[in-house]
Amino acid sequence: MVDFLMPSLGADMEAGTLVEWLVKPGDWVRRGDVVAVVETQKGAIEIETFQSGQIDQILVDLKSKVPVGTPLARIRSEGEAKLAAVPVAPPPITPAPTPAVPPVAPVVERPAVTLPRPPVTPTPAARARVSPAARRLAEERGIDLSTVTGSGPDGAITYADVERRIGAAAVMPERKRGWLDLSAMRTAIAAAMARSKREIPHYYLEHQVDITACEHWLAEKNASLSPDNRLLLGALPVKAVALAARRNPAFNGFYRDNKFEPAQAVHIGVAIAIRGGGLAAPALHDADQLSLDELMSHMRDLVQRTRAGRIRGSEMSDPTITVSSLGERGVEALYGIIYPPQVAIVGIGKAVVRPWVIDGAIGPRSVITVTLSGDHRVSDGHAGALFLAEIGKLLQEPDKL
């Protein structure tokens, strides 16, 4: 039996509200299935299970707000499921119908018997010392006390500690129901960005990249494509960053507990502006492995879902590096703030036509400014320069992206 936990959908998430169960006791689920929808400050997020098996018990009611790590449901692994006919809930007055055992066990395409993951149940820590005042404030503001460091007697969490955690500026507004709560999102952005600027020693580099080759290649490629399948210029730098991040691991990963953990995969967080003033940077999974066409269609899907407020949990917590692109209507350069616990953010400015020297002659070229905000605890300017230069170089040969 494995507990299905409220996942952390980003470093700044403390709790989530369960708004929809997509499964019920007795249902079979496979690893990766979306089983519930959780509302967070980022909007409603579909959360997936990592455990295949049969839903044994739903532990959290709809509309309940629970801290990250709270068991939401219990899942019986496939082996266990066969044994048990344990009643799921206190038997109702009418005799419970025998749970319908699916005639065919889940449609497993591959017989891949994934080894059941060791349950990732967080060890229940000894009850932390929290002063009554701190407890009340945390309750009022929805702060998960496990994310607060205590400074009081015997390390107790005090009122001031919770205040610090909330951040001086964050005034929590009345929570509005709905998929996207922009003021809550603003609070989350405030907390994450303030934390970043407080903790991460940023350094900044900029590099101007001639993308005339990209434009030519794109025009040629798109000529034969229907409008909805056309590649947009914005996809190319994302792919270039993904490839460069693969080769420069110091920019791809997480800084946690005073050390850098390079990530195995490259999941690009794509910064997506949301009308009305929100911002999210969900993951484009394995961006370095995707063809440009795949990357483009995934990006379209991601933008659409993000703006509709339906992002998957893994997409919120997975990004290993962020790319922020201001697009055509933007300015020439932007210097991003790293989204903790990531260690780098690449900024892409809009393309401008400039006089440029090529082979000793001046000619008009399309140029973008690519910037890097790097975490100096992890990398230095020299490595950052190589990383940026590599992105520039990759953009010179768009057909190889």
Binding site: S131, P132, A133, P153, D154, A156, A160
Partner: protein
Amino acid sequence: MTYREAVRQALRDAIKRDERVFLMGEDVGRYGGCYAVSHGLLAEFGPERIRDTPLSESGFTGAGIGSAMAGMRPIVELMTVNFSLLALDQILNTAATVRHMSGNQFGVPLVIRMATGAGRQLAAQHSHSLEGWYAHIPGIKVLAPGTLEDARGMLWTALQDPDPVLIFENVMLYNMTGKLAADAGPVDIDKAAIRRIGRDISLITYGGSLWKTLEAASALAAEGIEAEVIDLRSLRPLDDATITASVTKTRRAVIVDEGWRSGSLAAEVGMRIVEQAFWSLDAPIGRVCSEEVPIPYPRHLEIAAIPQSPKIVAAAKSALGRS
């Protein structure tokens, strides 16, 4: 002016203002008072108003109760709290209960003054601080003037009260000097006073410990801790509103009380904070009380046995998680 002179001024004023007022007690007349509080009053007002009594606390306290019931406004001086135990039956069983027992036909508008506290090397039998005990008793009021203004002003207000009022004067305060306004007069007897404003911790005290607590607050300020000092003034009734408001603001409290810790007034104040401000607390409530021993005679041991400002500083820092 000294605290002693402030009390004397209060006595003189009361005797002049109301012909029903008289002072009665051991050595208050010819000797001028055990602590010289009533020195000179016999000559000024005569033996009708300043009455020496035999060494019989129970007897003259009972006489005071009777004359109060009969319409007088006696001030009984019990010399010290140590001797008040001999009059405890009169205070607890008579003064505090007559209004109730008589179906409200009689009240006892009596004021009993006495000295209290340790610090004068008077040894275990003469160094008690039992005002917290008296504050346990319904039917009486218990006051602890800690300042010249209160020493001067509480007596008259107490005399206006229709029920018995006990005033505890800390022996260590009699020689304290300070300035008292020429027009100083009656003060209220039901509110605690904030003697120093702070935001980090509430230090709650009264009487002789007030000055040690203020000294501790100054020491804390030097370390960046802003302590608020509350002078309870009235031990019964307690001014819950002032205590709760302060602790709600500072979220921490240390109570300084020269009584013994177990069953002390400090315990009562602490419990009220828990009842009324639990959700505002940021740290366990601290107490600085007397050690649970008979108060020793040797000076260094006596000092060690009762609250002193270094202990108050340490308790406050502990509540703030600082060492």
